[in-house]
Symmetry: C2
Subunit: 437 residues, 2 copies
Amino acid sequence: MNVILLSGGSGKRLWPLSNNVRSKQFIKIFKNSNGEYESMLQRMYKGIKDADPAAKITIATSKSQISSIINQLGDNVQISKEPCRRDTFPAIALAAAFLHDVGNVKETEPVVICPVDPYVDSSYFKALSKLSDLAEENKANLTLLGMEPTYPSEKYGYIIPQNKNDVSKVECFKEKPDLNTAKEYISRGALWNGGIFAFKLGYLLQKCHELIDFSDYSDLFDKYETLEKISFDYAVVEKEPNIQVLRFNGSWKDLGTWNTLTEAMDENVQGNAILDTTCKNVHVVNELDAPVICMGLENVVISASVQGILVADKNQSSYMKPLVDSLKESVRFAEKSWGEYKVIDSTGESLTVKVTLRAGHKMNYHAHQNRSEIWNIVSGEGKVILDGAEQNVSAGDIVKIPVLCKHTIIAKSDLQILEVQLGKEISASDKIKYELN
Amino acid sequence: MNVILLSGGSGKRLWPLSNNVRSKQFIKIFKNSNGEYESMLQRMYKGIKDADPAAKITIATSKSQISSIINQLGDNVQISKEPCRRDTFPAIALAAAFLHDVGNVKETEPVVICPVDPYVDSSYFKALSKLSDLAEENKANLTLLGMEPTYPSEKYGYIIPQNKNDVSKVECFKEKPDLNTAKEYISRGALWNGGIFAFKLGYLLQKCHELIDFSDYSDLFDKYETLEKISFDYAVVEKEPNIQVLRFNGSWKDLGTWNTLTEAMDENVQGNAILDTTCKNVHVVNELDAPVICMGLENVVISASVQGILVADKNQSSYMKPLVDSLKESVRFAEKSWGEYKVIDSTGESLTVKVTLRAGHKMNYHAHQNRSEIWNIVSGEGKVILDGAEQNVSAGDIVKIPVLCKHTIIAKSDLQILEVQLGKEISASDKIKYELN
C-alpha cells in the first residue's frame, strides 16, 4: 500500500502545547502500550505500519514541519517537501509526482491519501487497506472513505451515497449543513467526508497534467510557488463523476480543539499536577517542571508549557484562536531534527535557551551580528568549532562566542547546553549561515 | 508611638506566590498611589509611618524572615529576632525586652502590638494611635482594639464588652462560636478579636518576669529556645481582669486565603494574562514571563510562579494547605536582603538559578562540596573573589567555580547572574561558609 499522509495545520487551537513551530499533530499526549506518550503523527504512522508492514508512507508537508517530523519519526522517513503553502490540490499533486519520479511508484499502483491528525483505532488502518484494494480494482476513479455519523454535526461536509451498501457510488457532496438538514442527510445514509481517498497514481497524474503545466516532479517543485491555492475537493473531487465511497463505522475523531482532545486522553493528568476530590471532568497537560494544583473546578482544561498557560472551560476553549492571535508572541520551544530547544528565561538584553542536541547531530555553522553567546555544557560530550578551530567539550565546559564568530557544535553523545544570548537586539532572524570546510 | 509588628506565618495558604521562605505578608499584590505593587508588610509599615512619622516600629520575627524584611523595607528597619518559633507570648516578651534594653524605651511608655498582615485603611492607623494614648492613660492594664463584626463569623474569637461605648471594660472573651451563638454575641455588642492591643512597657515586662525566669534581653534571647510555646492570649490576656476595648468600625480584613486576598485586589489581573469576555469574577496573579489565557471561567483564582500553578474555585481554595503539604517541594524562589533568586531550570544533575544582587551587596564567602558552579554575568558590574584572588567582572563574563573553591561576588551595580550548578547531589544545605580576610 502507498499512503500519502498530509501534515499541515497551524498551532493556534491547542496553544500553549502548539505554537507556530509545533502543530497539533506533534503534541505527545497519547499513551502507547509501553506507557510512553506519543503524538498523533507517531500514532498514525505506527498504526499504518502495524496494519501493513509493507506500506510505503510518504509525508506531504511544508518546509517548516520537516525538522519536527524527523525528530519524531527518525531520519529515514520519506517526505515530499512543499516549498510553501498552496492548499491540498497542489500538495497532493506534488506528492503524486514525487511518488512517481522519486519513489518509482507505477501509474497502475493505488495510492491512499489521508490527513495525519484524526484520532482512530486499528479498524481505521484496516479500512485504509480496503480503500487501497478498491482503488486497485478500478471500478471508480476515486474511492472515498465515508465515516458513519455519530450525531448530526454541522461542521463536517457530507457524502451522499446512492445506496447504503458497504461500497456505493456517490450521488453528490454536501457542504456543512444546518442541524435539520444534517438529520435529513443522515436518514438518507449520508457519511462524513474526512478527506480520505484512494486512486490509481496514473489517474491522478493525468488530472494534474490537465490542470497544471509541468513536465515532472522537479519541474513542479520549482514552480510550486506559482500554483493557485485550491483544495483537492474543489479541483478534483467535485468535478469527478465516477466516485465510490466505502462506509466506515469504526472510531474516527477530529481532535482539533482542547475539548475534543481531552476526550481522547487516557488519564486526566499528564505531567506534574494534583486535582482535589471536588474536581469534575478536569484535564491537565503540564509540560513545566513545577506542579499544577486544581481545586473545585468543573469541565475545565488546563495546559502549561514555556509558551504560556491556558485555563479554559472546555466548550469555550473552541474559541481561543483570536486570543492566541492577539498575543503576538515569539516561539518559546521547538522540536527539531537535531533535538530541541526551550526558552527558559528572557530579560530586556538576554535570552537563555536550553538546547538538547542528539548524539550524532550538529547545529548549522553560523554567526550572529547583534549578539554574543555563552554555551554552558550541562551534560554530554561534543566537538565545538569556532572560526574554524576545533575543541572538544564536556559537562562543565564553557564556550564564549563573540559577535560574528562562526560557530557550531557536534554532539558525540546526547548534549544538554544552556545558551545565554546577550545583546540589545536579540532575534531569531539574526543568523548568518556558513558552509563548514 | 511604639509599635511591635508581629511577622509570622507560613506560606501554605497562598501558594504558589508564597512558599517556605516567602510568607503571605511579602507578596506584592496591592497597587500603591504610584501604581507600584507593594506587599502587606510594606503597606502596614508605610501606613503607620504616614499616620505618625515619629512612630518607632520594631518587627518581631523569626530568623528566616529577616532577609525578606530587609529586602522590602531597607537596611534600617528595627528587628527583634526570634532565634526559633515559640508562639506569640515568648515573641512579645522578647520584643518587649528588646525595646527596653536595646531600644531604650521607658517602662512608662505605651507599646502597641499588632500583626503585620491585616488589610486595612487609614482609619486603622488612627485607631492604633488612639490605642497607644489609651494605654498611656493607664485606666486598664491592657487596651484591645475590637473590630465591629460585619457578619456573624464562626472563625474569629469575640470580645464581649461591658457596654457599647467607644471604650468599654471587657467582660469576657469567647472562642470561635457557631453561627447562632455569634449572632447572639453581636446583639450584645461583641467585637472581633484581631490580636491588636496596647500596654505600658513596664506592665508587660513585669508579667514576663512573673512567667519567665530571665534577667535581661540578652539572657532571654539566649534561653529563648527553652521557653514554652504559649500564646499571648492564653498566657496574659485571659488571666488579666483589668482590660478595656476600643471599638473600631473601619476597614479590617484578614487576607489569609486566595478568596479573601482577591477581594482586595484593585484589578482582576496582575502580570501577563488575558481573560475572555465570558470570564466572571476571575482573578489572575502571574509572576511568570509567559502569558495566561483564561476562557469561560467563573469564581476562579489562578496564580503562577516558578514554584507552581494554582487553578482553584475561590471558595475551595481555602482548603489548599494539605495539597501543598503533599508536594514536598523545594523552595524555587526567594527575596533576600541582598537581592533575589529564582530557579529557572532543573535536570537530574543540574540546577540553573537566576540571581539578582543589588548594588553594594555581596554573597556570603562560601564553597560547595558536591557541586561546581558557573556564573554567567548577564548584566551589571562586580568583583569576584575565588580562593582569595580578586577579579572584576561585567556583562558577558564567565566565572568557573570548581568544587570546594571559596567564592563570593560583590555587586558594584545591580548584577544579574545565571548560575549553573552541576553535580550529582545538588542541595541548598551543601554550603560551607568562610570569613573573608
